[in-house]
């Protein structure tokens, strides 16, 4: 086989390989989600984060605006300190509230942001004060049973 034909095939092979890598990077994984340079971090403290994991989405009105960067346990307040990395394009008022929600009944957990009415916007390293913990199914059932028992109790 002549050298140019061979070169051509190897060239095609490399192009196909790079195309496959690009397909994996852009179509299968979402590289466009949030890049580190164009984001700011805010901290939210929760009493209970349930099954929230790092890299879980942060959504506002159902749109992904960022990701959970890290989760730490604060040994002084016994709370979970969750660092959220939010895209710079999305600015939120200072009194925005954060809640841990579940997509579907058994789906993954994510943080939902609900914008407040403050004039000032959240900046890097700010803290979100209004938080709502994850709903733990066991507690919910416990409340339900407790409530029923109260109802049925003789006065």
């Amino acid at each position: 086989m002549s050298k140019t034909v061979l070169d051509l095939w190897v060239g095609l092979f490399v192009i196909a390989g790079i195309a496959a890598l690009l397909f994996l990077a852009l179509k299968v994984g979402s590289m466009t989600a949030v890049n580190v340079g164009n984001s700011y971090e805010v901290v939210a403290r929760f009493d209970n984060i349930g099954g929230l994991k790092p890299r879980a989405p942060v959504k506002s009105a159902g749109v992904v605006v960022g990701r959970v960067a890290s989760i730490q346990f604060d040994n002084e307040t016994y709370e979970a300190a969750v660092t959220l990395r939010i895209d710079k394009r999305y600015q939120f008022p200072k009194d925005t509230s954060a809640a841990i929600m579940t997509s579907g009944l058994l789906g993954e957990q994510y943080i939902g942001l609900e914008a407040g009415g403050d004039d000032k916007m959240l900046k890097d390293r700010d803290r979100i004060f209004l938080t709502q913990s994850a709903v733990v199914l066991e507690n919910l059932i416990g409340h339900l049973i407790y409530g029923k028992a109260q109802e049925g109790a003789p006065q």
Binding site: V10, F13, A16, A20, V28, G29, S30, K53, P54
Partner: protein, 261 residues
């Protein structure tokens, strides 16, 4: 009787240690003489044709079928939990993280690794390597190193093509044949697959496998006894050893990469 047994054990141990040392020195020599493989890149391109391009058919067809089977089986199981839309995640993650690099490496070991061993073993048996040395051409620089780098460069491309083809196969079966919602299939996949965590780690794996397979194949060929049985035995050992090496390395790499969260 006992003395014979102990002598036997001793000679086997010495042989084993000598072989490991020889393999290590051989590997270092290949790395040291890699200059030619890059200065005369034509040599490496030639070898990429034989180990990379000619492996394409088997890699692409196997990838497609593995993806299609994943689509069918995944749908069967997920459907019982009413979460068919997660099919994209299942197909993409299992291919990108594990099946892509590992199965492509196993196919590469049996398709290209065995060919490399047989070629080098025959070159040695027919004294072509010795002839090169007589002409003051270093066979490690001229013959071995280009094949090594060709394998190392080809492997990640082959693994990526395998994964891409597999995801396409899963899409064909899941979306086109069974009728999972197309938007959910892709969007759930995109939200679950991370570039660094999953895709980059898969590529790192395939590079490591490429190094392991080609190094083993080249060493077995170079070390093969210069007889017909010697070469055939070396070819068999290449496929067995490199397949086992791929599986063992995969476990170690996975344990490091995906531990914890």
């Amino acid at each position: 009787m006992l003395r014979r047994a102990i002598e036997n054990l001793g000679s086997r141990t010495i042989d084993g240690v000598w072989r490991i040392g020889f393999a290590a020195r051989f590997f270092v020599a290949v790395l040291l003489h890699s200059g030619t493989a890059f200065r005369r890149f034509g040599l490496t391109i030639r070898e990429m044709y034989f180990s990379g391009v000619l492996s394409l058919i088997i890699i692409l067809v196997s990838g497609l079928f593995v993806g299609m089977v994943l689509g069918l089986q995944g749908y069967e199981t997920l459907q019982t939990y009413g979460s068919e839309e997660a099919l994209g995640i299942l197909v993409a993650l299992s291919l990108v993280r594990e099946l892509g690099p590992v199965v492509a490496a196993l196919l590469f070991a049996s398709r290209a690794g065995s060919a490399i061993t047989a070629e080098i073993g025959l070159m040695k048996a027919t004294e072509q390597l010795t002839a090169m040395e007589m002409m003051a051409v270093n066979p490690i620089a001229r013959v071995i190193a280009p094949r090594f780098w060709a394998g190392v460069i080809s492997m990640p491309f082959l693994a990526a093509l395998f994964s891409a083809m597999g995801i396409f196969g899963g899409y064909l079966v899941g979306v086109q044949l069974i009728g999972v919602d197309e938007g959910a299939f892709w969007s759930q996949m995109q939200s679950a697959v991370d570039f660094e965590e999953d895709i980059l780690n898969g590529i790192i794996k395939s590079v490591v496998f490429g190094v392991a397979i080609t190094a083993i194949a080249l060493f077995e060929g170079y070390d093969a006894p210069p007889t017909a049985e010697g070469v055939s035995g070396a070819t068999t050992r290449t496929v067995v050893t490199s397949s086992l090496a791929v599986l063992a390395l995969d476990f170690v790499l996975t344990a490091f990469m995906f531990r914890g969260v």
